[in-house]
Subunit: 449 residues, 2 copies
């Protein structure tokens, strides 16, 4: 705390104020790049933690605990003497007054602004779907999916009614990007190993896992050969794959693909993205998904002191296509803009080169020993890709504690086929679980007696 006084004394109020909104991969990388910049940096986020989203599906399927992959933002930025962390929800930006407004506190002024607010899932105009499906973006989302999966099994164990069973144990995953594929694979493994040992009455054939995709192959961002492999590996795990299939309707207990109606209480939505509403805040042109169309240096057209990075930015790469919504893009954006501002403020190298994205490759995991990877142009699949996937993700986790904890959990699951984080907790339990249990009249346990 003595810190504060000395810091206040040593920091003249004339220092430029840099505000970073959002502390995902992009915002965190920008903050790191600004660590030694003579500026007052404020990192604003509506949560108190940085989340390692690539492993969120493992929280949703009870392999990891939320704390394994989420770390307090303050802890990550503890050693940044020039940086404040502010937990607050941004409601708007006034670029004329250079001021940010909030839900629960007074406004905050900036000299430079970095917008890194990310994206949400898009329902392609069918916003009514949202109330019936679960998405996978936040820790709470992951807990909700975990509750749905585990709660469905608990209820299914107690019923013999085939219609109710079908509704409870049909898991529909919409969208076959890496998240959809990884989630489908993880639910299949959870079903086949852990749950099969622990439940007495559910039969494997009672469980249906459906992965649907509007395009003509899985993992559209990967090479077609790897898409094929992923499809076969998922089919091996018992996942039914529906290609060229669009969801036409969803209600409380059914998902429809045109004429086909599938009863399910468990629809998980991993399709499409919609950028957060920063373009509206600034009233600047947006791409079709709502992302801000930024200039070469990630600045917002007409606002040279405002930058947008990561999923909230639409960045034209040299081949004319916008860069994909990947963690790697957000990180490189963040580092670039951080360094750019540092150079501008210290006048060390006022003309920074424009941003260039380095594509190191992409990875997706299907299950135990099965993954696909494209690394530096090489295509890999199977066990080697899985080992690389594991190592890369351990390495990318933000702190040593998370790495140790994830490593421990993975080793444990690998050895025992167990899942350590099978908790039904939170308000979701009170809301969703009674719905699962509704009508399970002719229960099995009783009939046994």
């Amino acid at each position: 705390m003595a810190d504060v006084t000395s810091r206040q004394a040593s920091v003249p109020p004339s220092l430029p104020r840099i505000v970073i909104i959002g502390c995902g991969f992009g915002g965190l990388a920008a903050a790191h790049a600004l660590k030694d910049t003579p500026a007052l940096v404020t990192v604003v986020d509506k949560t108190n933690h940085h989340l390692f989203q690539p492993l969120l599906y493992q929280v949703a399927t009870a392999a990891l605990a939320p704390t394994d992959i989420a770390t307090a933002t303050r802890a990550l930025l503890r050693n940044h003497r020039n940086t404040d962390v502010l937990m607050a929800e941004v409601t708007g930006i006034d670029p004329e007054l250079e001021r940010i407004t909030f839900a629960h506190r007074r406004s905050l002024e900036y000299d430079y602004l970095i917008i890194a607010t990310g994206a949400a899932y898009s329902f392609f105009g069918n916003d009514r779907f949202e109330q019936y499906v679960k998405v996978l973006k936040t820790v709470d989302d992951a807990s909700a999916i975990r509750t749905h999966v585990l709660g469905s099994f608990e209820a299914a164990e107690q019923t013999m009614d085939p219609e109710i069973l079908r509704r409870l144990l049909t898991f529909v995953i919409v969208g076959s990007g890496p998240t959809g594929v990884e989630l489908a694979g993880a639910i299949a493994e959870l079903t086949r190993t852990t749950l099969a040992c622990d439940f007495r009455w559910i039969r494997p054939q009672d469980v249906h896992i459906i992965l649907c995709e509007s395009g003509d192959r899985l993992l559209a961002g990967f090479d077609p050969e790897l898409s094929d492999y992923a499809g076969k590996a998922l089919a091996d795990l018992g996942v039914e794959i529906k290609l060229k299939t669009r969801v036409s309707d969803i209600d409380a207990a059914t998902v429809s693909f045109g004429e086909e109606r599938i009863p399910s209480l468990n629809v998980f939505w991993c399709a499409g993205t919609k950028a957060s509403p920063a373009a509206q805040w600034l009233a600047v042109p947006a791409a079709r998904n709502g992302a801000i169309q930024v200039l070469e240096d990630c600045s917002v057209p007409g606002h040279p002191n405002i930058f947008a990075i990561g999923d909230v930015a639409s960045y034209q790469s040299t081949n004319g296509k916008p860069l994909p919504g990947l963690a790697a893009v957000a990180k490189q954006h963040g580092r670039y803009v951080g360094r750019l501002l540092d150079a501008r403020i210290t006048s060390s190298d006022p003309v920074a080169r424009s941003f260039r994205y380095r594509d190191y490759g992409s990875l997706a995991v299907i299950g135990r020993s099965r993954a696909v990877a494209e690394i530096f142009g090489h295509k890999l699949k199977g066990r080697l890709a899985w080992v690389i996937w594991s190592l890369v993700h351990l390495m990318l986790l933000v702190d040593l504690r998370s790495r140790l904890s994830v490593y421990l959990n993975w080793t444990w699951s690998w050895l025992t086929y167990g899942r350590g984080a099978r908790l039904l907790t939170g308000t979701e339990v009170k809301q969703a679980v009674p719905r699962f249990f509704a009508g399970i009249g002719s229960d099995r346990n009783r009939s046994r007696a």
Copy 2:
């Protein structure tokens, strides 16, 4: 799954049906004792997990994750071939029909019933307090306290209003049993180490931790010498101790001790216990705290096939006092009743001896390197007691995975003074945090610019 068929075939329906309600320390011990009994055992619990409550205060103070100390009941009983697990909420028992009724499913019949439903906190007739305080019994309770502590700090960081600061950063713990003492100590350590490093504006003197106790000393279950030591150790950590002090009123932002009114949004209630309503279900005599007054063999008077164990039972020990509400009592009760039923069913030793409680001692921890212990009549305090406390708790955790995970987290915290589980998540955040942030007008971050 092939299991089920063979099991069904091999288990004649004439086997006695034993139902255990509640899977805390007592219920789990009973289930373990019945592992090889020729009977149909059903373990009923309203949650899906067994919770290691002695470490729950560490979840509430962000040192451990919920999954470190809560394990899926099914996983624990996986190898019990004769046992089913049922997640369901019991609403009543009909001893005439030998039948249990539930909230969301049909009733279940039993031949033998073991009631192990535990206890809740008691407000000594002031049930209106409940809406304003947080208790510490379940995983959700611990998450709620964690949200309150971390959320208060986040809001306090953003205000300079001394009244709001006071309200946010005054933590009142009511009751000085082990839970109250441990919680007060852990909040003090969290404040002095982790949070002091991570917040820029909160000063240590802004934080007030008050532990109040209606009796004349802390830890009434321990030797007075150890109570003294605990009091001094807590005072060293900055905890203000109020003895002979009763809460007279609580509202949304104040706790009153007679004339003294203390503004606080954070009142944590660890006082008194009230047994779960099983005595009412059975319409049998209850002790003052609602516990069933059981006979020497833990059976319920008038119902020789119904047993009550642990906190829901009031058991007269040989010295005429009821046994305390400890995990050790529940475990020994459970094992005793399990063995009794096994003997009765197999007719191996029909006249079991009556229950005798073995008191191995008790432990309470105050903070880093500080604990008190009474073991086999020996009084211990300080570092040695703390080492014993740590080892005993690691040993008592129900599975190897929890042990490894807790060990990793403790070592990490010990080395870094860090707390790995500092997440603000769940609906509690949406409900409580806006209340914390209400009115934080003159914020510090802004005034700095």
